[in-house]
Symmetry: C2
Subunit: 193 residues, 2 copies
């Protein structure tokens, strides 16, 4: 059931770094992205796939993790992602490319979950540093980075607290809680049966 996959597909930021991800797995994920809907079918996204320790380190060094967790600097070395998919945009003046990023990012994450993996779409990073590392052509915009690995954390959906905050948080045991709005808040109007 897709619902099971969607429930397991939490944004994971801590992984069991001893579990490697083969390049063939990343290629299968891009193959999922390839057959996704694309706004006006333009397909402006491109991908860099990394499983190499050196490039993984370089990518990791550019990422900013979990803005709401002020006391957490990101995953420890043994908890770091085993692979990355850097999502590049060749259509920077095409606003609809951002839909493609969401469509394809989510589909690849669902595909990773189906394989017993998981990950996180990271949007906060030092783009210039990452661009320099890969010597990217100017027409390639770095949009999102998918960080992937074998999840090693407990992430739970909870209701919003009384103050209505949507900020995720952790308890002392390290369990990560993500407040999600209720269906009643999301659905403004139903018309029909």
């Amino acid at each position: 059931m897709l619902k099971d996959l969607a429930l397991k597909n939490r944004s994971y930021r801590r992984f069991d770094n001893s579990v490697a991800i083969p390049m063939s797995t990343l290629e299968e994920l891009v193959d999922l992205a390839r057959i996704c809907p694309s706004a006006a079918n333009k397909q402006p996204l491109r991908f860099i796939l990394s499983t190499s320790p050196q490039d993984n380190d370089a990518i990791f060094g550019c990422l900013k993790w979990a803005a709401y967790l002020k006391d957490w600097g990101g995953p420890a070395p043994t908890e770091r992602p085993a692979a990355y998919i850097v999502m590049l945009n060749t259509a920077t003046d095409w606003d609809f490319a951002k839909f493609d990023l969401g469509i394809m990012g989510q589909t690849m994450l669902l595909g990773a979950v189906e394989k017993g993996l998981g990950g996180c779409m990271v949007g906060a990073m030092d783009r210039e540093k990452l661009r320099a590392h890969f010597a990217l052509a100017p027409e390639l915009e770095i949009s999102l980075v998918l960080a992937l690995g074998k999840p090693a954390e407990d992430v739970r959906i909870v209701d919003l607290p009384a103050d209505g905050s949507i900020k995720y948080y952790r308890d002392e045991a390290g369990t990560h809680f993500v407040p999600k709005r209720s269906p009643g808040e999301l659905i403004l109007l139903k018309t029909g049966k």
Copy 2:
């Protein structure tokens, strides 16, 4: 397998209008969207669910279909969507909301496919007319409309033609062809094993 769902999840624009979609199905799709990743977990999207003939007609009258098919004015009355999910954005100054639109739109479409349905994310429409129909508050931006129904067309992925055009097209039998870029075109670099 997610791949099977993703393959069946073509952008359908012609439906068997005799097959109704109950409101409970739309609610299940929003429940999938609810548990999706959301940029910074802000969850700015809201939804209008329509299965009523009157509102369906009103929504249909605002949509623009298949820009590349110049000779096709959209689905005939018996081919029209049985239901719609209007996706509204409450964070119009938050560029990352567009990622959420892609993430949630795609996840709801995959959910529809799992139920034997299908649909299309429609981004071209008369937004002012649709806004007026539902008397929407100014802070609600109409972003995308998911058109949903029981698909009644054959949609196939093909390679890009020699001229590299990504425009979808139909043959005389009405089969709809969607050129998709090759994995080799999408993957710029692989690093690691």
